[in-house]
């Protein structure tokens, strides 16, 4: 017994480290448990209220209503312009088919970013809209320039957004001019569309939009432009470096595109 006590005393730092690390790892591995998510939701919901109070003074004198309305109009126009671009191209390609595509006028909900988690690997932010505003998991987030991210989790009044600059988000996109599809990922530095065969013509400045093949995003939302082209070691493929239109670090106002997503499917696709 004494020997056991001595061992405990001698290695207590390591014992504490092992116990706490094991608890952390168990929680980490059971991250998708409903109970864990509930705890996280309740806690972050409470904290966001405190956080909102801290933002109160920032917005007290800003008189943002009109500006917000203008931003909303701007975002709607941005989507409209892009849709029209798409229509023009379709008309050129398929003259006999008029209004080939279905209308996809999704209503948009204005929202304010109330906090941001910045890192090289995974970036998130929280919005002041939630279940009560009709927000659902998987809804795309845009601003007046283009796509910003996607709703990952919601509480009654707030939602957590996974940005494009997140290693866990893979998005189906295409080059608007050539209809060439690819998968957009975040490599820690840039947004990249990988493994584009070199024989396909891609120009610097080509516009990247969400693809019709995307199961988590509606098509034709502007994402960014091709900034650079890098050949793979094999020489057969190239990676496209994308300059996103939207910069969530600088912006504080975004819009949620109100499209219904099947939560289970979305989670399966994203996780």
């Amino acid at each position: 017994m004494l020997a056991f006590k001595n061992i405990l005393q001698k290695f207590k730092e390591y014992i504490i480290l092992v116990i706490l690390s094991l608890i952390s790892l168990v929680i980490l591995l059971s991250n998708n448990d409903t109970e864990n998510r509930k705890i996280s939701k309740i806690s972050s919901g409470g904290f966001i209220i405190i956080n909102s109070l801290s933002n109160f003074f920032q917005n007290l004198f800003s008189g943002d209503d009109e500006l917000e309305e203008l931003r909303k109009t701007n975002a709607e126009l941005m989507l409209e312009v892009n849709r029209l671009r798409e229509y023009r191209k379709e008309i050129q390609e398929l003259r006999e088919i008029f209004n080939y595509k279905n209308e996809n006028n999704y209503p948009i909900i204005p929202a304010r970013i109330i906090n941001k988690t910045i890192s090289r690997v995974n970036n998130y932010f929280t919005l002041n809209c939630g279940n009560n505003d009709g927000v659902g998991i998987g809804m795309p987030i845009i601003n007046h320039k283009g796509l910003v991210g996607i709703v990952e989790d919601i509480t009654d009044n707030y939602c957590l957004v996974r940005t494009l600059q997140n290693s866990t988000l893979k998005l189906s996109v295409k080059i608007q001019r050539t209809n060439l599809d690819g998968i957009l990922t975040w490599n820690g530095n840039d947004l990249v569309v990988k493994n584009i065969p070199v024989q396909y013509e891609v120009n610097i400045g080509d516009i990247i939009i969400t693809s019709d093949f995307s199961t988590i995003m509606p098509p034709s939302i502007p994402v960014g432009i091709v900034k650079d082209k890098e050949k793979n070691i094999s020489g057969l493929f190239s990676d496209l470096i994308i300059q996103p239109y939207a910069n969530f670090i600088e912006d504080n106002y975004v819009f949620i595109m109100k499209i219904e997503q099947d939560t289970n499917t979305w989670k399966y696709l994203v996780e």
Binding site: K12, E13, I16, L17, L20, S21, I23, S24, L25, V26, I27, L28, L29, N31, N36, I39, S40, S43, S44, F47, I50, N51, S54, N55, N115, K116, T117, I118, S119, R120, V121, N122, N123, Y124, T126, E152, D153, L160, Q165, S167, T168, T185, W186, N187, G188, N189, I249
Partner: protein
């Protein structure tokens, strides 16, 4: 439980508010300083390894649930951070450790490890470990170390007591 147990938790609230609201404004190329690591390292250097390990666990848990990140990742990383920082603890050199450039150096080393391990756990990036270490660990560690400079100035002028 004495005041020393509560103080970092009290300081945590304003720091996490700054971390989530102000730090993004001064982030550079998605590299941001981690104020919570500075808090953890500072108190570990004051009170020792066991204190640091437990504090790391608690602060990591709070960060995970408040920022919407991956639950458990911050807990694990910060627990390790507290434990490793404990090796720099010396009860005869507390003032020296926290009021000289050694403090900034410790912050740099530990914060680099913290960012690197966190990135290793949470990242799905298709990049090498060396890339994660340099891009995510070193740069973030350096930025965090810069932010710890005011602490040594305040400690030197005895604005902050143990």
């Amino acid at each position: 439980m004495s005041f020393k147990h509560y103080l970092p938790l009290i300081l945590f609230i304003p720091l996490i508010l700054i971390q989530l609201n102000i730090i993004p404004l001064i982030s550079f190329s998605y590299i941001a300083p981690d104020l919570i690591v500075i808090l953890l390292i500072y108190f570990t250097l004051l009170y020792g390894q066991i204190y640091g390990t437990v504090l790391g666990f608690i602060l990591g848990f709070l960060v995970d649930i408040l920022t919407g990140g991956i639950l458990g990742a911050g807990m694990f990383t910060k627990t390790l951070t507290g434990f490793i920082t404990g090796y720099f603890y010396n009860e005869n050199k507390i003032h020296f450790n926290t009021s000289t450039l050694l403090f900034v150096f410790i912050i740099f080393i530990i914060s680099t490890l913290d960012s690197f391990i966190y990135a290793l756990i949470t990242s799905q990036l298709e990049v090498s470990i060396a890339f994660l270490f340099f891009e995510n660990g070193l740069l973030s560690g350096f930025y965090t170390a810069v932010f710890s400079l005011p602490i040594i100035l305040l400690r030197k002028n005895k604005f902050i007591y143990e």
